[in-house]
């Protein structure tokens, strides 16, 4: 009887996981080159910063060349950091191309977008080329591996980052943190609302 109970509970657990499996839609732009890691643990890290904190500064290499630091925008622009877990994976591949058509929303709110992953530059170069010409900078947090993600507390135990958004105002203060379920793309309207609350 106890064995049956355990079996049923196990089956139930498996079924619930199947039932709640994340959904995504993939653009044909990436053809068959997307690796699907399956359903992952929604979040797997503990934030090291909070809203109201000064965002930790960093300097990372950009796919388009040179390095970009957070502090170069201090007093000039609001900044959105978009950490995505990994190149060539399903949800990530369908997140930044959406941001690519809303430059006007960022401009209207005097904000820049910095996309960050823990992949190296050549990988990011090949991946982002499939998205068209991105108007925003894509930065590599590859070495020291995931160091920036770790300083914000969004580095997962397997070495990729969370799917996370940080909105940082012109004073360098974190105004919004959104760590999403890694299996799902965050709704654009949430980010837009947070941007619209910032001073321009």
């Amino acid at each position: 009887m106890k064995k049956h109970g355990t079996l049923i509970l196990t089956l139930a657990a498996i079924s619930v996981v199947l039932w709640s499996a994340g959904a995504f839609c993939l653009s044909d732009a990436f053809k068959n080159n997307i690796y699907n890691p399956g359903l992952l643990k929604p979040t797997d890290s503990i934030l090291k910063v909070k809203v109201g904190d000064i965002a930790p500064d960093f300097s990372l290499p950009s796919v388009s060349g040179g390095r970009i630091s957070l502090s170069q925008y201090r007093g000039k622009k609001n900044v959105v950091l978009s950490f995505v877990p990994a190149a060539w994976t399903p949800v990530c591949s369908d997140q930044w191309p959406g941001y690519n058509i809303v430059k006007d929303i960022f401009d209207r709110n005097d904000a820049v977008l910095l996309g960050i992953t823990v992949d190296n530059i050549p990988t990011l170069f090949a991946w982002t080329n499939q998205m068209g010409n991105l108007w925003f900078s894509v930065l590599s947090d590859f070495w020291p591996h995931g160091a920036v993600a770790d300083r914000f507390g969004v580095l997962r135990s397997d070495g990729v980052s969370e799917r996370a958004l940080f909105v940082i105002d012109k004073k360098g203060i974190i105004r919004y943190i959104g760590v999403s379920d890694i299996n799902e793309r965050p709704r654009l309207e949430i980010l837009v609302k947070k941007l619209e609350r910032l001073e321009r």
Binding site: I8, C25, Q95, G98
Partner: protein
């Protein structure tokens, strides 16, 4: 009493399994419709915009089904505002709409809609404004429609012929098949049988 308590986890497990299995039966293994198929049971949000409702010949309500559209042929584009190909092809699809609407022989026979897979109303609206899309774009925020039509990649095109008796059949079902407004329309006219019809 103890017996009753012991039954609770079992009952909960049974409910969980039933719900999950029902869901899996509803969605798992769905394949994209093929030529000759009837569309899977999908419900779409009736557009709030009166012009779009009139374009589709819908009277109101909350949801509608494709065969309720007043047309002989419905072209459905499964798209996403996050899809680079959909973004690049948007002007061409707009042109397809303009050609159809500018042709008195076609405008009441062929209707065009987009279904935004995984897109919220806000996201669909961003796409509409960005590319000045004149035809109705319907959100599919929870992917429920996308799952029913086989979780296709985007942009995906479906052509549906609606018969006078209200029945319908899919006559076209292809991924990323848009090679320009004119050749695409020609293909649709040919495959639907509209070409040559009076």
């Amino acid at each position: 009493m103890d017996n009753e308590i012991r039954k609770i986890p079992m009952a909960l497990a049974t409910i969980a399994i039933s719900v999950a299995l029902l869901h899996c039966l509803a969605f798992a293994g769905n394949l994209p419709p093929v030529k000759g198929d009837v569309l899977p049971e999908i419900q779409l949000l009736v557009p709030e915009n009166t012009i779009h409702r009139n374009y589709l010949g819908l009277e109101g309500g909350t949801f509608f089904k494709i065969p309720e559209i007043k047309a002989k042929v419905v072209i459905i584009e499964i798209f996403s505002m996050y899809c680079p190909h959909c973004q690049r092809e948007a002007p061409g699809i707009n042109r397809l709409y303009s050609i159809i609407e500018g042709n008195p022989d076609l405008k009441d026979k062929i209707k065009l809609i987009g279904i935004g897979a995984g897109n919220s109303s806000f996201e669909v609206d961003v796409f509409r404004k960005k590319y000045n899309v004149p035809f109705p774009l319907i959100p599919d925020e929870d992917f429920s429609i996308h799952k029913r039509i086989g979780e296709v990649r985007t942009p995906y095109f479906l052509g549906v012929k609606i018969n006078d008796d209200g029945t319908h059949r899919v006559f076209f079902s292809k991924l990323n098949e848009f090679k320009g407004a004119e050749p695409f329309l020609d293909l649709i006219l040919k495959l639907s049988g509209l070409k040559g019809e009076g």
